[in-house]
Symmetry: C2
Subunit: 210 residues, 2 copies
Amino acid sequence: MAKQRELRVTRQRERGTRAASGPVSAELIEREAIRLFGERTYPVVGMRDISDAVGILPGSLYVHINSKEDLLIKIVERGIRSYLDAIAPIAESEQSATIRLRKAIKAHMLVLATALEQTRVSFHQWTYLSSEHKERVILMRQRYEELFSRILNDGISSGEFRDLSNPRIAVLALIGMLNSATEWYSPTGPLSPEALSEVLADNALIGLQK
Amino acid sequence: MAKQRELRVTRQRERGTRAASGPVSAELIEREAIRLFGERTYPVVGMRDISDAVGILPGSLYVHINSKEDLLIKIVERGIRSYLDAIAPIAESEQSATIRLRKAIKAHMLVLATALEQTRVSFHQWTYLSSEHKERVILMRQRYEELFSRILNDGISSGEFRDLSNPRIAVLALIGMLNSATEWYSPTGPLSPEALSEVLADNALIGLQK
DNA sequence: CCTACCGATCGGTAGG
DNA sequence: CCTACCGATCGGTAGG
């Protein structure tokens, strides 16, 4: 008995990852999956990597979860929802389009900074979902895009923004700029998410020219 | 003999893809690999998918190529090089920073439009390379970033651009915006690459505000 | 949560 | 370029 326990602890140490102890749960598994998918992407992370990270054997994962894809679905949907929840109230508020855009950009960067790896999975790895689940994600992404479209269109109507020849492209370019932060944002870098969001908002609103 | 030939032709038709005939070559294999990696990403495309696409059996691929990773290396390096070749002469020319930036954005969109799938692989899938090759790619990406940094810094010095509080972030955001086109550019869409590049250049230079 | 295992698929090779 | 095959690894399960 004591020996068995020792072996198990050793194995966990060889797997090298889990903090001290605490019970394995679905939440812990999802947390480690977010980290691993975010670092190395869904298709190249094996269930054995995840089981190593939480300190159990591969087959035992299925006591807590249903399938690998189920992990991905949950991560992706929760991730996109956190962006919708943060930005919808801003986009739908009564303030000027200029202020709403600044606030939306700031909210985006704050969510991104507090959930960097989840964002990487949510925005780039939903493509690995099977087609039924992919459709649900596409709908959520459209809602997200519409929030920015609303702000831009309101700003054009009110005369705050110039008459964009193609607002759709402007929205996609703006979102593309924001999402690119998953590739260059560093929590240990010199600029806070707030400071970064000001740089990005200035770029989007004022542009580079003097 | 005739029967064997018939069977082979049938098998190729079942694989369903290859245009008529023509000899299989390393170039053909690379072309199909670009398409498949671009559509579904490197780790989930099997050598059997590639051999099906070119109409031979999996083992026969290795007459023409060395390894799966070798395919990826060639695609990624050729892809990035096409961007460097297009933009370096512009960034290093004697024109104003404003004009150089417009031209660089246009050149970027033209390369992207003529090699959309190769761009997807080059900019997002180099992370699947083993570490030695990854380092080479990182150096090429730095050179690419420096081309835009030069234009922006020149523009600030000359007084064409405003005094950006953080030019590095502005460059990363700009490149992020351009690269996001791999996710939304459609060759069958209404706007030409030239038209798109004008929209993007206006956004980057003038911004959204009136 | 482990033991013990499953069929399927992976990139790649020897020998012709 | 095919035939025939390799060891390794994959996600997942039965039974305790």
